[in-house]
């Protein structure tokens, strides 16, 4: 079974890109299972379900969605194997840019749109720089020149990745991602595999439900802004 991890900035078109790509995979007689991780609510599972494939949803609720995601990788793998999937697509929540979901042995795809600004690729960090494939969406509404400059910015942040343009509305370009998935190695088992980039530490009073502002309410791993100047 091939394990595909989808990350990306909010509203970049992760689900739309994957729906088109999965259609191509299904047309090649490959079986696909999809799992969507989100925080409080998602309707993306409905869109996956319309493809007639097994779909699972994981809502992290009061836990950081990326930590929740890592803690559930074995379970997702197990579920997908029960579905006899050739390919499992795991779509992450795509919220904070500090975490990178990429795991060695899994094909990690980062979806970004070229409307986010030319300098933004530099700000995205490990989610973009550790991806195996980078999908750029919404290219049809910016000038060719901006498209080329944006491409170059992405390449500077992640020179190894295969970069592809996909139109999430029409599906143009999705066959390239499909071929990339098909070419990718099968995963023997996810247990023992490593994250490409560590997740941030966060064990403080707010993690366990504290809501009041102020030093006296803060315990555990607390970091303060360095405003420079004296001290």
């Amino acid at each position: 079974m091939r394990f595909v991890i989808i990350a990306g900035t909010p509203s970049s078109g992760k689900t739309s890109v994957m729906i088109h790509t999965i259609r191509h995979l299904l047309a090649s007689n490959l079986s696909v299972a999809a799992c969507k991780i989100d925080c409080l609510h998602t309707s993306d599972d409905e869109r996956y379900r319309r493809l007639g494939i097994p779909v699972a949803v994981g809502l992290s609720d009061y836990i950081c969605p990326d930590h929740f995601y890592v803690a559930n990788l074995e379970e997702v793998e197990c579920w997908a194997r029960e579905q006899r999937a050739d390919i499992v697509v795991l779509e992450t929540a795509g919220l904070c840019h500090r975490c990178a979901p990429a795991v060695h042995g899994c094909l990690s795809v980062c979806v970004i749109d070229c409307l986010i600004g030319i300098d933004t690729p530099k700000k995205i960090g490990p989610m973009l720089s550790t991806a195996d494939s980078v999908v750029i969406t919404k290219c049809d509404i910016v000038s060719q020149a901006e498209r080329e400059v944006f491409h170059n910015m992405v390449e500077t942040v992640n020179p190894q990745a295969k970069i592809m343009d996909i139109n999430g509305l029409t599906g143009q370009g999705a066959i390239t991602l499909k071929n990339e998935i098909v070419r990718y190695n099968s995963l023997e088992g996810i247990s023992g595999k490593e994250l490409k980039y560590p997740m941030p530490a966060a064990i403080c009073s707010y993690c366990s439900g504290e809501t009041v502002i102020g030093k006296t309410y803060q315990m555990g791993n607390v970091k303060k802004v360095d405003f420079g100047g004296e001290n």
Binding site: H24, L115, G117, I118, D140, I141, V142, S143, Q144, A145, E146, R147, E148, V149, H151, N152, T170, Q172, G173, I175, T176, N179
Partner: protein, 258 residues
Amino acid sequence: MLEQITVLGGLDKKGSPERIRSLDIKAGEVLAVIGPTGSGKTQLISDIEQYGEEETLTGRRIVIKNQQDTGKDKDLPRYLVAQVSQNMNFLIDMTIEEFLLMHARVRAIPDPRETINNVLETTNQLSGEPVHLSTNLTQLSGGQSRALMVADVALVSNAPIVLIDEIENAGINRLQALEILTGQGKIVLVVSHDPTLILMAEKRVVMKEGGMESVLQTTPEEQKMLEGLLRSEKQINLLRDYLREGRLLWQEFWCTVR
């Protein structure tokens, strides 16, 4: 330098082999892609863009002939097809100068100053009110933006194939735009419903139900008709200019301009 691309036929929407099995397009040539909406024009362009893939939806294959054929992928440009379409916008908040310099740097243009001056000159040939290097991209009108895109694609982007997608309503001199692009030795694909643009192409591929149905060479008779079309186009342009300048037309206008 790209010399020629060949599209080897695949399957149409019904899964039967399309009628045209092989279509050659040479550098400097203009090919019109025509057919009703939904007939597969965009898919054809998409197949050409994804020339590196061994498998496509339509089963078409794209063969590229380079002047110095080393057979290596890295010698091919990143973008085989550069596009100018009606839906495209400049979103970046920068002056024309800053942006062109940035694009020229990305493209490793040896003399960026000279190039951006040429881009500006070409832009102003194509559109109405002149723009300046200090003009902000987001202030450009639709026509000015399109003119700058054409000039940039012709002089800065390195894609050897240019796709012009239904720009007949863009408010720029589209016939001159076509000349500028082909003048750079590029292959120009024109998706259009405009008879003048279609006839300005040496040949046209007619799409039907997802397949390439026929390839027609523009006949000498059609070229004569094109001259007539261009003449009336000139008259309409003149008429437009008169109105734009705030002048009144008079009854014998046509007789005078003829």
